[in-house]
């Protein structure tokens, strides 16, 4: 039994972290808030060059041929740095979905371009009223139980505006047909949802971890009543409880990645456990971060709100904690007594 990552996996994580420290500073995230597209082709190119974008694409299609376990630490970093790029949509869900369900032609057409960083793919699954990064070259849409892979010429996009302006959301109308059909299998749609939920959980852990770290650093230096507020027992206990939640969420998230990578019988439930736990942990970290920062955290100038808003948005993506709890309950009670 070995519930840890390999040194190669940590090495890749560290390399990505270094890149993001340079390319995805809070200033860069603010630039994404303000810019027209919200995206940086240069940054995406650098991620592609590192092999991150094509991480889950098979080697035969020019990717790294790695799996969910290799990816999960990268997603956590993406969450931590608020990476404003469709990494989750492209690398965690879109590309694997095409690889799994696409025709040979579709795969040969798209996967090499995705891996090379020349094309992006996004997904719009049932239950969401919009599609993130719907300007992607290929958009996978779930409609009436079927998955379609649709190119921009068949799409009409209406931009929406998220409170987290780095998130680029669109209301999408599509001309669908037999030629856009990707899969009619409910199992495949579920598989895509599980991947999206688990990947979102990984990002949530990154977001929550970043907020916790910022808050710990803040309470170590902020003084009130003649002492550092981090020395108050009430503050210490809140942060201890938050750490417990965030660190425990990592266990759930890493295992979900492994279960999905190995297609275990409990993979769906592992994804639900991860999303439910990570959503709750992030909510708690979000609450304590703002409360303990006090007034400064409510200013536009301070960076905290960039994380607060991303965290809140992700809590509600691909099923909130309550939805996943109901899914788990249904599974528990569906199994034989």
């Amino acid at each position: 039994m070995d519930f840890d990552f390999s040194s190669e996996q940590y090495l890749l994580r560290d390399t990505v972290r270094d890149l993001l420290r340079r390319e995805c500073t809070p200033g860069a995230v603010r630039a994404a808030w303000a810019s027209e597209s919200g995206r940086s082709p240069e940054r995406w190119r650098k991620l592609a060059d590192l092999g991150v974008v094509g991480l889950t694409v098979a080697e035969e299609h020019g990717g790294a041929g790695m799996d969910e376990v290799d990816l999960v630490l990268i997603l956590e970093e993406a969450g931590r740095s608020l990476l404003p790029e469709p990494l989750l949509e492209t690398t965690a869900v879109g590309a694997p979905l095409l690889a799994r369900s696409g025709s040979d032609t579709l795969r040969a057409e798209w996967l090499p371009r995705i891996a090379a960083g020349d094309a992006t793919v996004t997904v719009g699954l049932a239950g969401s009223p919009y599609v993130a990064d719907a300007t992607a070259d290929l958009v996978v849409l779930e409609r009436q139980g079927a998955l379609h892979a649709v190119t921009q010429d068949r799409l009409t996009l209406q931009p929406l505006r998220s409170v987290d302006r780095a998130r680029r959301l669109f209301s999408v109308t599509a001309e669908l047909g037999d030629d856009t059909l990707l899969s009619t299998s409910a199992a495949v749609a579920r598989w895509a949802f599980d991947h999206a939920a688990a990947a979102t959980a990984a990002e949530l852990v990154g977001v929550a971890g970043a907020m916790l770290d910022m808050t710990v650093a803040y309470v170590k230096q902020r003084e009130q009543f003649g002492r550092r507020i981090g020395s108050f027992q009430a503050v210490q206990h809140k942060l201890a409880e938050t750490l417990l939640l965030v660190d425990s969420a990592r266990s759930a998230v890493y295992y979900a990645a492994w279960a999905l990578a190995n297609d275990t019988p409990d993979a769906s439930i592992a994804a639900s456990v991860a999303k439910a736990y990570a959503s709750d942990a992030e909510r708690r970290a979000n609450a304590e971060a703002l409360q303990l920062h006090g007034g400064i955290g409510f200013t536009w100038e301070h960076d905290l709100h960039l994380w607060l808003k991303r965290g809140k948005a992700l809590e509600l993506q691909y099923g909130d904690a309550d939805l996943h709890r109901r899914r788990i309950a249904d599974w528990i009670y569906a199994t034989a007594g």
Binding site: G127, S128, P129, Y130, Q158, L160, R161, S162, V163, D164, R167, L169, S171, E223, Q224, F225, G226, F232, A234, V235, A287, L290, Q291, G294, G295, I296, G297, F298, T299, W300, E301, H305, L308, K309, K312, A313, L316, Q317, D320, D322, R325, R326
Partner: protein, 395 residues
């Protein structure tokens, strides 16, 4: 025990309700704009305040001698309730009417009362509050804005933050350090400063919802007559605490507000699609709606108990901390429930097609989260409750 209004209070309620009904048009006219836009928009809000004043509804609890009608706290609560039910505009004059006015009545000189109270009442001058500083949040007494006496004047230097109405204020009541050598709570003076004085700079403070309802106020060699000191020099802490008492206690945030939010949440849950049905079919939503009903109902009842005690002449005490703690934490849960009902739609902000209420729920949610911080954080309230209500020992 009796939940009926007395004849007098019922008559007051009827009067107020009728007045609001008569002023529906002005209410809608005023609410159609945001005072933050300034100019004509702001003047609509001032006109609304004046209309209230002329109807004798501007400051009902002020004594008759100061132009109020000496109404009871119960009547104030009735007015608040009707105000909310009428969906009447936010009040640009609340800091003067609710906080500074009552403070001046106790601590002001005859000249200060004569100079300021009528103008507050008529909304001729807008007041803002200069308490918080960047390094003095919960620990208000650690403030650093200093005032040095030169003859009949103080020379003020420093910075205040979280000043509501800062861009529109004619006057600011503020705390300044006049004796840096004294212990922290001594050596602070409560000062009234003309915002039009030279050396004052107001910068809008942009909040995380993108609005600028607060400002930073910078003082550079601002000269203030000594006659503008309220209470005694170096004894401003006493005055400041009395004023905070009006903020925390006198408020008794109106239950009607929370009842209305709950009603809106219930309506939202009936409409919002969820799977094959609507959110109201979801057992988790139902449980949380029920819990919020319980909490808002219990809040309303607790306020009624407190009002009864006040009506019997009991002074508001540290129990005000229980009230603040209760409603601020409840409000976060209510608004968070609304976002959870909206699900992925919750993040859609102002100007976004498909956004519910133009993103208003998210804005409310952010504001609710501020409410566990302003006017004494939840942590400070719990300290007060533990030490002053339960009598637990300080560290």
């Amino acid at each position: 025990m009796n939940f009926e209004l007395s004849g007098e209070d019922a008559a007051f309620r009827d009067e107020v309700r009728a007045w609001f009904a008569d002023h529906r048009e002005q209410i809608e006219h005023t609410r159609a704009v945001d005072w933050e836009a300034g100019g004509e928009a702001f003047e609509r809000y001032r006109a609304w305040e004046r209309a209230l004043f002329e109807a004798g509804l501007g400051a009902v609890t002020w004594p008759v001698e100061y132009g109020g009608r000496g109404a009871s706290m119960v009547q104030q609560a009735i007015l608040n309730e009707e105000y909310t039910l009428a969906d009447a505009p936010n009040r640009i004059n609340r800091l003067g009417l609710g906080l500074l006015g009552p403070t001046l009545m106790v601590y002001g000189t005859p000249e200060q009362k004569a100079r300021h109270l009528p103008r507050i009442l008529a909304c001729d001058e807008i007041w803002c509050q200069g308490y918080s500083e960047p390094n003095a949040g919960s620990d208000l007494a650690s403030l650093r804005t200093r005032a040095v006496r030169e003859g009949d004047e103080f020379v003020v230097n420093g910075q205040k933050i979280w000043t509501s109405l800062g861009r529109f204020g004619d006057w600011i009541f503020t705390l300044v350090r006049t004796d840096p050598a004294a212990p922290k709570h001594k050596g602070i003076t409560f000062l009234l400063v003309d915002m039009h004085s030279p050396g004052i700079e107001v910068r809008p403070l942009i909040q995380i919802d993108g609005s600028a309802r607060f400002a930073e106020v910078f003082f550079t060699d601002v000269r203030v007559p000594v006659a503008n000191v309220v209470g005694r020099v170096d004894d401003g802490w006493t005055v400041a605490m009395a004023l905070l008492g009006f903020e925390r206690g006198g408020g008794l945030y109106g239950p009607a507000l929370f009842n209305r939010i709950l009603r809106d949440v219930v309506e939202l849950s009936r409409r919002e699609p969820r799977g094959e049905g609507v959110a109201a079919d979801d057992p988790d939503v139902r449980r949380r709606v029920a819990q919020s009903y319980i909490e808002t109902r219990v809040y309303e009842l607790t306020v009624q108990r407190a009002l009864t005690r006040l009506a019997r002449g009991e002074a508001p005490g540290p129990e005000a901390s229980l009230n603040k703690l209760y409603w601020s934490e409840m409000k976060v849960r209510l608004d968070e429930l609304a976002l959870d009902i909206l699900g992925p739609r919750a993040e859609l902000g102002p100007g976004s097609p498909q956004a519910e209420n133009d993103g208003g729920w998210y804005g409310d949610y952010l504001y609710a989260r501020a409410s566990t911080i302003f006017a004494g954080t939840s942590e400070v309230q719990k300290n007060i409750i533990a030490q002053r209500v339960l009598g637990l020992p300080r560290e």
